[in-house]
């Protein structure tokens, strides 16, 4: 079960990375509008939350420590904050719906919080791997990344 959990955490991290990629795709799409970000929106509002929920359930089923379970649902919480940043930023657009300095100041946080999502997913994955494989097996992939694991 812990291996399943680790795999789900890996998927979650992958989805978060893909999300960044899709944000760039939307930003460079020309001409640009809502539909430029359709994939970004779908992945962010559907795929990541569902993966986060499923991974959390897996963590619980795998009898992971409570802290780890709480951590696994963190990406979902942060993704909700992502939507709120967009919604609240939009409240400060001008009457024709164009952005204002204030709305942009708020909307810019979307990228900062996005990095937090990636960070949280990465942390979840690292710890999930440690749970699944307590002693890193001598595989090159683990050896390469094993050194990056801080004892937090």
């Amino acid at each position: 079960m812990r291996k399943v959990y680790a795999a789900l955490a890996g998927l979650l991290l992958a989805a978060a990375v893909v999300q960044m990629y899709l944000a760039a795709v939307g930003a460079f799409d020309k001409p640009q509008d809502d539909s430029s970000f359709a994939l970004h929106t779908m992945n962010g509002m559907m795929v990541i939350p569902v993966l986060s929920l499923v991974a959390t359930a897996a963590a619980a089923a795998a009898r992971a420590p409570g802290r780890q379970i709480g951590l696994t649902v963190l990406p979902l919480g942060l993704v909700i904050v992502q939507s709120l940043i967009v919604a609240i930023g939009g409240l400060f657009d001008d009457s024709t719906g164009n952005t204002t300095p204030l709305s942009l100041a708020i909307l810019g946080l979307h990228a900062v919080n996005g990095m937090a999502v990636i960070g949280a997913c990465e942390l979840v994955f690292r710890r999930a791997r440690r749970l699944a494989w307590p002693k890193p097996e001598p595989r090159s992939q683990d050896a390469a990344e094993g050194s990056a694991v801080p004892a937090s």
Binding site: P31, M46, A64, P65, G66, I69, T96
Partner: protein, 710 residues
């Protein structure tokens, strides 16, 4: 407070509520007794504030609070009550205990009996937010059950994670799973039923047997005129889409939409105006010399202006050279016969490369209109497949300067005609000037006119009654809409500015160019007076000052009242309510975070069926956070009310009206133009994401089966 503000306030309060409950739970888990107690109090106050904000919002209409009243608030209150009963006494006891920090107390607040209920209330509060964002209007049992299952599951996981043994864990888990499965089934099965009902939908719709399918409300067909407010049909009860299907009529004649075409000869006294437009890709040069790759009619952006005199027959031969996705011509705001309306898959097939289609219609309405492709219209229009249509009244001698100014965002810059710099004209003082503003974009523009008093004489092609003189006013023009401004050229310069940022037109006093005043209409692609001549900025301070603080003109209070053929008190034969929102839905068969109408996206939105001669009322409610310029093909609508208030000025006959967040518009029209029509948001990217539906006359069928409507 406006509904818009109330919606924002409710959003903030619900965020605060969820955050307070969750933080209280986290604080308890971290053994912070006093923090827990404080956050607990904040959460309780915020939850009560949530009741108040929902009640306040309810004053704007049931549509704005339906999901909150039926699901979010009950869920929040059940969870808050449990949290208060279980955690409340324990937190109080721990907080009152004097002496050592609570961390030293063996149990304190870090007990599952405190942490789990507090977090549970947080989940319940967050579920309401998630529901508003992901599901929107209307809440239904399926999504409510699914949400409940997610909250219950989260509580179980939390409970288990808190280290306690959960009594009856297996039973509870099983119950949650069953609820989740049931919720998913209820949510997704109606969609398949809808497809199955599509075939029979045609028959039942035609017979006007609206309520037959057993929806919980009187149905969108509105055979009951009194049922103004909640005439929203169930998700799929008679959900048929017109693409492919049709509205047959019991006992009436059946006509294909292809038979509803314009005449071959003009009415007596009218001339035939022939145009040929060839759609092709091209590189166009803007006035600054900048070159832009575009989709064009005849290699130009905007396309060739189409002009006629009222009573003429307009004949336009559309050819497609190389627009791979196909092209059509839709006459925006012009009540052409349905077969000439240019909607691919509904009134014709899109014209493929090498193909052609001939449009014919009588220029019955004078005024300012425009045309654009309706095939992949979001991309197509933005890439340049649009142009102007101006019809001058019969017998009216054209005098003065008459400029048609389509404003478009092209490759990231705002262009007026093909000018990405201000269009400069010399006009002799005393000359009558008419500026025809057309917003061909997806979003509204704000215009200001400085340097002269003026009047807004026509909106969407229709003259206003008694338009007063305007000065420092901001004119907000909906996407797809048109304003005609009229004034007499003063001795100083006149500047038309777009969005308080860029000058679109500068008129400078001086001798008009040869023949300037004679021609009736022309587009703003002036070959004369580009910048060089007489940039006389006398009195320039009045035309260069910022305009951002000029108040926005309220059209519903402008001009003088006049009799209208129907009013709010009329008896309506049909009553349709469209609640606009965002949520997950199948848009064009694909799951998307769609722009929804009554919770559904095209093609799943039930077609509105009318009978020829019906008086129809449309209520359009925007409970989302985007502006939706609503556009009905083939009919001009009379504004009955906005946010419950009738216009006090000139009657407003519009083809595109901006429904801003929180607004409720009631409009009416007489069904006198039989056919199959699009009824959609003219922010075409919203239409692409589901915000469109069909309005069908009984007895009109279509031979086309295109999946696409726009």
């Amino acid at each position: 407070m406006t509904t818009d503000r109330l919606m924002a306030l409710d959003l903030l309060v619900s965020v605060l509520t969820a955050a307070a409950w969750v933080s209280a739970g986290v604080a308890a888990a971290a053994r912070r007794t006093r923090t827990t107690a404080a956050l607990f109090a904040v959460a309780l106050v915020a939850s009560l504030a949530r009741v108040w904000s929902v009640l306040a919002l309810a004053g704007s209409g049931w549509w704005f609070v339906q999901e909150k009243v039926t699901v979010a608030l009950p869920l929040l209150f059940a969870a808050a009550a449990v949290a208060t009963a279980l955690a409340g006494p324990r937190v109080l006891r721990a907080a009152r205990r004097p002496g050592p920090p609570s961390g030293a107390v063996p149990h304190g607040v870090r007990t599952p009996a405190v942490v789990v209920p507090l977090l549970g209330a947080g989940y319940a509060a967050a579920a309401g937010l998630v529901q508003t964002f992901l599901v929107g209007y209307p809440a239904d049992p399926g999504t409510a059950l699914l949400l409940l299952a997610v909250v219950a599951g989260a509580v179980l996981v939390t409970w288990r994670a808190s280290g306690a043994s959960v009594p009856g864990l297996r039973t509870a888990t099983a119950a949650t799973a069953v609820a989740a499965v049931l919720g998913v089934t209820l949510t997704f099965v109606p969609a398949t039923e809808g497809t199955a009902a599509a075939a029979e939908g045609a028959a039942s719709a035609g017979a006007g047997a609206a309520g037959a399918a057993g929806s919980e409300t009187p149905s969108a067909h509105g055979d009951h005129p009194a049922s103004a407010d909640h005439s929203v049909s169930g998700p799929s009860s008679e959900g048929h889409s017109v693409s492919g299907a049709s509205a047959s009529v019991a006992g009436g004649p059946v006509r294909p939409v292809t038979a509803l075409r314009g005449p071959a000869v003009p009415p007596p006294g009218g001339a035939v105006r022939r145009f040929t437009l060839t759609a092709r890709t091209a590189t166009v040069t803007l006035s600054s010399g900048r070159k832009v790759a575009a989709w064009t009619f005849d290699g130009r952006v905007p396309g060739p202006p189409i002009t006629a005199v009222q009573g003429d027959l307009v004949e336009v031969r559309l050819r497609n050279a190389d627009i791979a996705s196909g092209v059509t011509l839709h006459w925006h705001g012009y009540d052409v016969p349905s077969g000439e309306d240019g909607v691919p898959g509904l009134t014709q097939e899109a014209v493929p490369p090498g193909g052609e289609f001939v449009y014919r219609f009588v220029a019955a309405q004078a005024g300012t209109y425009w045309y654009h492709t309706h095939e992949v219209s979001d991309l197509g229009v933005r890439m340049g497949l649009y142009g102007t249509l101006v019809v001058t009244p019969e017998g009216a001698a054209a005098t003065g300067v008459d400029l048609t100014l389509p404003v478009h965002t092209f490759a990231g810059t705002t262009v007026t005609g093909d000018h990405d710099q201000p269009l400069v004209r010399q006009v002799a003082p005393g000359t009558p000037v008419r500026l025809r503003l057309i917003n061909t974009d997806n979003t509204p523009h704000r215009f200001t006119l400085a340097g002269t008093p003026y009047r807004l004489v026509a909106v969407d092609g229709t003259d206003l009654t008694g338009p007063g003189t305007l000065g420092r006013a901001g004119l907000r023009l909906a996407a797809g809409g048109r304003y005609d401004l009229a004034f007499t050229m003063p001795a100083g310069p006149v500047v038309l500015r777009t969005d308080d940022r860029s000058d679109a037109v500068r008129l400078t006093p001086g001798p008009s160019g040869t023949g300037e005043g004679a021609a009736g209409t022309r587009t703003g692609d002036g070959g004369t007076g580009d910048g060089g001549t007489g940039d006389g900025t006398g009195g320039g301070s009045t035309t260069t000052a910022p305009t951002g603080d000029w108040p926005e003109l309220d059209l519903t209070r402008y001009g003088t009242p006049a009799p209208t053929p129907y009013t709010l008190r009329s008896r309506f034969d049909r009553d349709f309510t469209l609640v606009l929102d965002r949520g997950f839905a199948l848009a064009g068969g694909k799951p998307a975070y769609a722009h929804t109408v009554n919770g559904l996206a095209f093609p799943d939105i039930p077609t509105e069926v009318v009978r020829e001669g019906d008086l129809v009322r449309l209520t359009v409610v925007n409970r989302g956070r985007d502006t939706h310029p609503w556009h009905l093909h083939g009919h001009r609508v009379l504004v009955l009310s906005r946010d419950g208030r009738s216009p006090t000025g000139s009657p407003l006959w519009l083809d595109t009206f901006d429904v801003r967040p929180g607004e409720v518009w009631e409009v009416a029209f007489r069904a006198t133009n039989p056919g199959l029509w699009m009824n959609h948001c003219h922010n075409l990217s919203h239409a692409d994401l589901g915000m469109m539906l069909h309005l069908a006359y009984e007895g009109v069928t279509t031979p086309f089966h295109g999946a696409h409507g726009g």
